[in-house]
Each structure stands twice: as C-alpha cells, then as structure tokens.
C-alpha cells in the first residue's frame, strides 16, 4: 500500500504525528488562559518589572532556577503555595525551568526586602558562603532604555504610563531584576493564607539559658538570620535585635510566621524546635559576647 509510495507514506506519517499533537497540544488552549483558570488579582508586569524579566531571560537564570511549585507537601513547605495556571497568563515565554541547581523562585516576591536582593545579587557568597551562584554586581553598570521598553509593552499589550517609562531613567539593570523578583508569585495573597495560627499556650522548652547551648544555637542563628540581622544582632538589612524587648512568645511567633508585609520570611519550615533555639539565642544573647 504505502510501502512503495513515499508521498503517501509521508502523508500518513504526518497524520500519525498530528493526532497526539492535536489532542495534547492544541486542545488544551480551549481551557488554559481562559475564564476557567483566570485569577482576578494577577496583573501584568510594569515596564521596570518586564525589563527585569528580560534580563533574567538574557542571563539564562532559568537554567538553574525553576518557577513553578508543585502541589507536594515538602515543596509547599519549602517554597510556599503551589503554582496556579492563572498566575502565568502574562508570562511570555514561560520560565518554569527544568532543573533546580538553585532554589525555586516562583514565590520569592515579598519573601525578603529589596536590600537583601541587592546584597545577594552583588555577591551571593557573601550571604550564602557555599553557594555556586556567581556575582551579578556588574548589572549595576548598565542602564535601561525607555524607548525599547515602550516598544516591548506595546508588543505585549500591557498597560503602562509615561511616568513609569520616565522612571526607568536613572535605574540600572539590577534595579529591574530586583523589581521583577519582588513581583514573582506575590499577586495572590498566599502568604497571609499560609500563616499558621498558633493555638494553645506557647511553652519555651529551653527556659534557662546555658552557655553551652548558646554555642549550638548560634550556629542556627548564623545560618538563617545573620545575613540580615548581623553576626552580633547588630542589624543590617533587618533591624538590630535586643532580646529584652520581646517576650519568649512574641519572639517565637515573629520568627515562626515572619512579618509578611515587612519583608521578614517565615521560618516555620524549620520546625518548632529550631525556632525555639533561635528564639532563645536572640533572647539571651549579650552584645559583644561570642560563642565560637
């Protein structure tokens, strides 16, 4: 039949290819990015955010960072609420990635204050010593182009104002990347929803501080808190900490749930035990005292 007829063979092969193509690739357009999965609070990128996104693409950040959180227990614990289709309607192209050499960034927006990102992008290893991410301080040297940005917004069909375009002047590429990162995953109010309500009475399991325990606790503090609050609680990106200002319970709740609007991440995923240790370290740390 087709064994000796190349044109017929090609036609049939094309038909075979198009069956699966039509069903799994064309058909989903009927549901995806329609009213079915629309999320009203999701907004397009501003000119500055879109510039940041384009720099993220240019530098191939997606080779090491994913941007989609799967509905799996440990993944939601680690990164935040799982990703929803409607959150990506303005993403051209999608940036879900395929490999997590570094952590997922789908919910990075609002996790840290801007200052954290600047410091981290300037020199990732100054904050995370064993990181294999290289420095992006050089992005500060390049400025943004409002003319090009306007063309981009027109092609994308995103709303923009002349004021927003004017603001691009004087900003550099790093500003744009930080603005983009702060937008990621923050269009839905997941962080408030994810906050854990602490029920019952909180009981400090380590009420009496001992010098030996302080040493162990300091290790945990250094790993999770020092990048913002300084090695001696003196404050840098985050405020200076003085344990005397808080009760045990206040400190615990602050660390456990973070300050969603204040740029302090929640540390509930560390577990209550570690959070209590940090609480006690902050509570009983004496300025100038070291626990090598």
């Amino acid at each position: 039949m087709w064994e000796k007829k190349p044109l017929l063979l090609i036609a049939l092969a094309t038909a075979a290819i198009l069956v699966g193509t039509t069903i799994t690739m064309v058909l989903p357009f009927a549901w995806v990015n329609t009213e079915t999965d629309r999320i009203a609070s999701v907004t397009p990128y501003t000119p500055l955010q879109q510039e940041g996104r384009d720099i993220y693409i240019r530098e191939g950040c997606n080779n090491c960072h994913t941007q989609t959180i799967r509905p799996l227990v440990t993944e939601v614990l680690r990164y935040g609420d799982y990703s929803k289709s409607g959150e990506f309607v303005y993403d051209r192209p999608f940036l879900w990635g395929s490999k997590r050499t570094g952590p997922d960034l789908a919910r990075i927006g609002g996790k840290y204050p801007d200052a954290w990102h600047y410091k981290h992008m300037d020199s990732p290893r100054s904050m995370v010593p064993k990181s294999n991410m290289y420095d992006y301080a050089w992005l500060r040297k390049s400025t943004l182009d409002p003319v090009m940005s306007e063309r981009k917004m027109k092609v994308l069909g995103f709303p923009y104002t002349q004021e927003q375009l004017a603001q691009l002047k004087g900003k550099n590429e790093l500003d744009a990347v930080v603005a983009y990162l702060q937008k990621l995953g923050s269009d839905i109010a997941w962080r408030k929803a994810a906050e854990v309500t602490i029920v019952g009475e909180l009981k400090n399991p380590y009420p009496d501080t001992a010098h030996r325990s302080m040493e162990e606790w300091e290790v945990i503090y250094s790993e999770h808190c020092a990048a913002c609050h300084g090695g001696h609680l003196e404050g840098e990106i985050g405020p200076h900490l003085d344990g005397a200002n808080y009760t045990d319970e206040e400190l615990f709740s602050l660390i456990f749930n973070g300050i969603p609007d204040g740029g302090m991440p929640a540390f509930s995923s560390l577990g209550t035990n570690k959070v209590w240790k940090i609480t006690n370290f902050v509570k009983y740390y004496v300025q100038g005292e070291d626990h090598p």
């Binding site: 000796k4 063979l9 440990t74 614990l77 990506f88 192209p93 990635g97 209550t272």
Partner: protein
C-alpha cells in the same frame, strides 16, 4: 546497469563540520560543568554558565546531531535509492548555510539574545535560518527518494521521511513569536500554554532529531557492517508506526504536577509507558540481527559502537517512562537525575551511533583504510567510561538530593534547608566534570584517528563489504 555516481564530497564536508561542532559542544560542556563547582570560572557578561549552557546544548543538538544527520542521510539516501543526490548545488548551499546558522547561533547566544526556551533558545531571525536550512535539506532528500531507481523503500528511508516532516512541524509551531526588534521577541503563547507547547516541541525534538534519525542510521549501518540483514523488516515497520504515533502525546511528562491540565499529564504518562513497546521493538530487532554474529562484538569495533549504542537506547527508553510516572517524577524531577538521563541518550545512544556511522563512512568517502583500529577501540572505551561516570554520578546525586528535599522531621517541618542539600552535590558535580573530560578525550582521539586516516591511511583495495561480512 551503469553505476550511478554518488555525491561523496558533500558527505565529507558534513562529516568535517559536524565533528568540529561536536568538539565545541563537548568542550563547552566540560567548561560549564566546571563553572557549576567553581563559580569564579564565570566571566560575565559573556562567559557565564547561564549563557554558555545553551551553547553547549544547541551546539550538541544542531551542530553535532543535525550535522551527522545531514552527512548520513545524504549518504544513505543515494545508496538506498540507487540514484545520485537530486541537487548537488542545493546540498552545497545547505552546507554553507548550516555553518552560517550554527555560527550565528553561537554568537547571538553569547551576546544574550535568547528566547530562554530550552533547545530552542535562538532568537527569531535564526529560527528563520533554521527553517530555510531544513526545507532545503528536506526537499533534496525527498526529491532523491521520488526519482529513485530502487522501487523498494528500506526502513531507514521511512525514519528519514518522518524526521523531515516531524522536525519541520515541531520547530515551526514552537518558533511562533511576536518580534520586538531583530534580537528580541516574545512567545506567541503565554504561561501554561507556552509551557505545554514548548515541551511538546522539546520532547519530540528528541523523537524526531535524536531518535528517528539515529534509528535510520542504526538500521542501515548495522547490516552494512555485519553483512547480515536485519532480523525483521516487518517488525521495524510496526515499531515505526507505533513510535511516531505515540511520541507526540508525551511532551507533558516534562510538566507533571505543574498547572498544565491533569488530563494532559495523565495522557503523557500513559503514552510514555506505552512507548516502551516500539522502542524495544527496535532494540530486539537489533539484537536478533546479531544472531550468529555475536563474535563480531569482539572482532569489529564498529559493531561494538552500534550494539552498545543500541543498548543505551534500550536503557534510555526504560528509564524515561519510569521518570514519566507521576509518583517517581514527584521525587526525582528538578534534580541532577534528569541531566544524567538526557546524557545517557546523547552520549550513549546518539553519539555512539554517530561515531559508528562516521567510522563506516570514512573508508568509503576517502578510499582509505582506517589509520588505527586500536585507537578506535580506545575511543570506544573512553566514550563508554566517560558516559557511565557522567551519568552514574548524577543519578546518585539526584537520588540523594531528592531524598534530602523530601526529608521531614517528626513535627512535619523540613529536615534540610535548600543549601544543606546543594552543598552535598559538589563531589558528584566534580565526578561529572571528570566523566565529561574522559568523553572529551575520546572525541579528540577520534578526530586524530580520522585526520591520520586521511593523511596516511592505506588505500582501500578490496571491495569494502562482501556478502559474508566485512572484509
């Protein structure tokens, strides 16, 4: 009948250039593997992991993989059709345009002009070049088939024709974009749709560029090497239809647990498992063709490359479906397991078959005996060992990191922070770099051996293939 005069010059040129791009791909691969363990080896803005990694993948797929496809298809189609190439001029244009496209890709990617879509990073002007290149190639091959002097069509021709059509459809659909400037465009699809279209492309580029063409080569070069026909032509036909039909359903197995509709994911999962059948149809066909010929595994370096390459194809098509199952994907996806899987396919299957094809071609396109069989054997072992070190170290790394990502304490909190899991990867990343370097030594020896063949090889005197097998 007068013996037709085949165009071998163009085959030679494609062999040369594909080898150069293969060398570049592997070298850049070794460099980026070192950048992952030593961040100070990144030199922004151009020489960073983020920009070099797409050069590694695209040089590998489009320079090395497609270059070998061009060389072998043009060689095979003339002989299987017993007729010269339809247009030598078109082929010559194709050669120069191919190199222009690869060079333009490399330069623009270094400059940061990228769409970010994996294995399709090149911006739209280069997409246009790729489309022209592929159309020129496809027309030349198809016209040669249409004017063939041999009525029967061997299975290799089937796979070639499917690949020509398949790559064209995939590339065109996924390339659709809204240009902003010459160097910047936005995908025509958004978010979840873009992801689904892209992995429909991504997975089937593997089918149409890295599975069907190497199968065409395998089905051709194995019997030509051993002198014994394949076990069953009809089995190869059933496997052919099943393979090209089922592959296109499976793209979303790259997107399990993402916002892509569940039913698309489920179909991808089911068809991925079903794909074991046609894949192993070809594997069995290859093994059964070796009936009574297994002694050639010891005597003939070409058979070694072909059969071990086929074995990696078999393993690849078992491991792939395993990863395409939701539960296993939940555990392993996004870890180093996945690159280990891909590299078993590219270093084990595609490169082994490509090496074998070139070894087969060289005496026939140069009229020279291979300079050194011991060197070819050494090349085989370096390739095999390099690939195994590469993949096994990252399989272990992947399982380790996945385990750490999923570990929880008794109160339901996470046992490890992300960084605690990442630092555990360093020793395995070093091992991977070592594996890549061993593989790199292999291709250096290969190229040296071919170079010496051309310069100093003995002229071929006897007919290369006799009915009893190789001479």
């Amino acid at each position: 009948m007068e013996k037709p005069v085949y165009n071998t010059d163009i085959v030679r040129s494609f062999v040369h250039w594909s080898l150069l791009w293969g060398l570049v791909a592997i070298l850049v691969g070794v460099i980026v593997s070192l950048q992952m363990v030593e961040p100070d080896l990144n030199f922004p803005p151009y020489l960073t992991f983020g920009r070099l990694r797409p050069i590694h993948t695209n040089a590998g797929i489009y320079g090395w993989g497609v270059g070998v496809i061009f060389a072998t298809f043009i060689y095979m189609v003339q002989r299987l059709c017993k007729t010269p190439l339809w247009s030598n001029k078109l082929a010559k244009f194709q050669l120069w345009f191919f190199n222009a496209t690869i060079i333009a890709s490399a330069i623009t990617l270094l400059l940061g002009y990228t769409t970010s879509k994996e294995y399709h990073e090149m911006e739209w002007p280069i997409d246009v070049m790729v489309v022209i290149l592929w159309v020129v190639f496809a027309v030349n091959i198809l016209m040669t088939i249409l004017k063939r002097q041999e009525e029967q069509m061997y299975i290799s021709l089937w796979y070639m024709m499917a690949a020509l059509v398949g790559v064209a459809i995939l590339y065109l659909v996924n390339a659709a974009a809204l240009p902003v400037s010459l160097f910047k465009s936005y995908s025509a699809y958004a978010g979840t749709n873009d992801a689904n279209v892209h992995w429909w492309f991504g997975h089937n580029a593997v089918a149409m560029a890295l599975t069907a063409p190497p199968l065409a080569m395998f089905y051709y070069f194995l019997p030509k090497t051993t002198g014994v026909p394949i076990y069953s032509h009809r089995l190869s036909i059933i496997a052919f239809w099943s393979l090209i039909f089922m592959y296109l359903w499976t793209g979303a197995h790259h997107l399990l647990w993402t916002p892509v509709p569940d039913w698309v994911q489920t179909l991808a999962m089911a068809f991925s498992v079903m794909l074991i059948a046609p894949s192993w149809g070809s594997v069995f066909n290859g093994y059964l063709s070796m009936n009574g010929q297994w002694h050639q595994m010891k005597e003939n370096y070409l058979v070694k490359f072909l059969i071990i390459g086929l074995t990696f194809y078999g393993l690849q098509t078992l491991q792939g479906p395993m990863q395409a199952i939701r539960s296993f994907s939940a555990f392993i996806h996004y870890t180093d397991w996945v690159p280990a899987h891909i590299h078993m396919g590219t270093m084990g299957w595609v490169s082994m078959i490509s090496y074998a094809s070139i070894y087969y071609l060289v005496p026939r396109i140069y009229g020279r005996e291979l300079y050194s069989v011991p060197l070819a054997n050494m090349h085989f072992w370096l390739t095999l060992v390099g690939q195994l070190v590469w993949s096994i170290s990252l399989w272990v790394a992947g399982v380790l990191q996945a385990g750490m990502w999923n570990a929880t304490n008794s109160d339901g909190s996470l046992t490890y922070t992300f960084m605690e899991t990442m630092v555990e990867m360093y020793p395995y990343w070093w091992a991977r770099a070592a594996g890549g370097f061993i593989f790199f030594l292999g291709i250096i020896i290969f190229i040296y051996n071919l170079f010496m063949t051309v310069r100093k090889g003995k002229d071929v005197v006897a007919p290369i293939v006799t009915a009893a097998g190789r001479n």
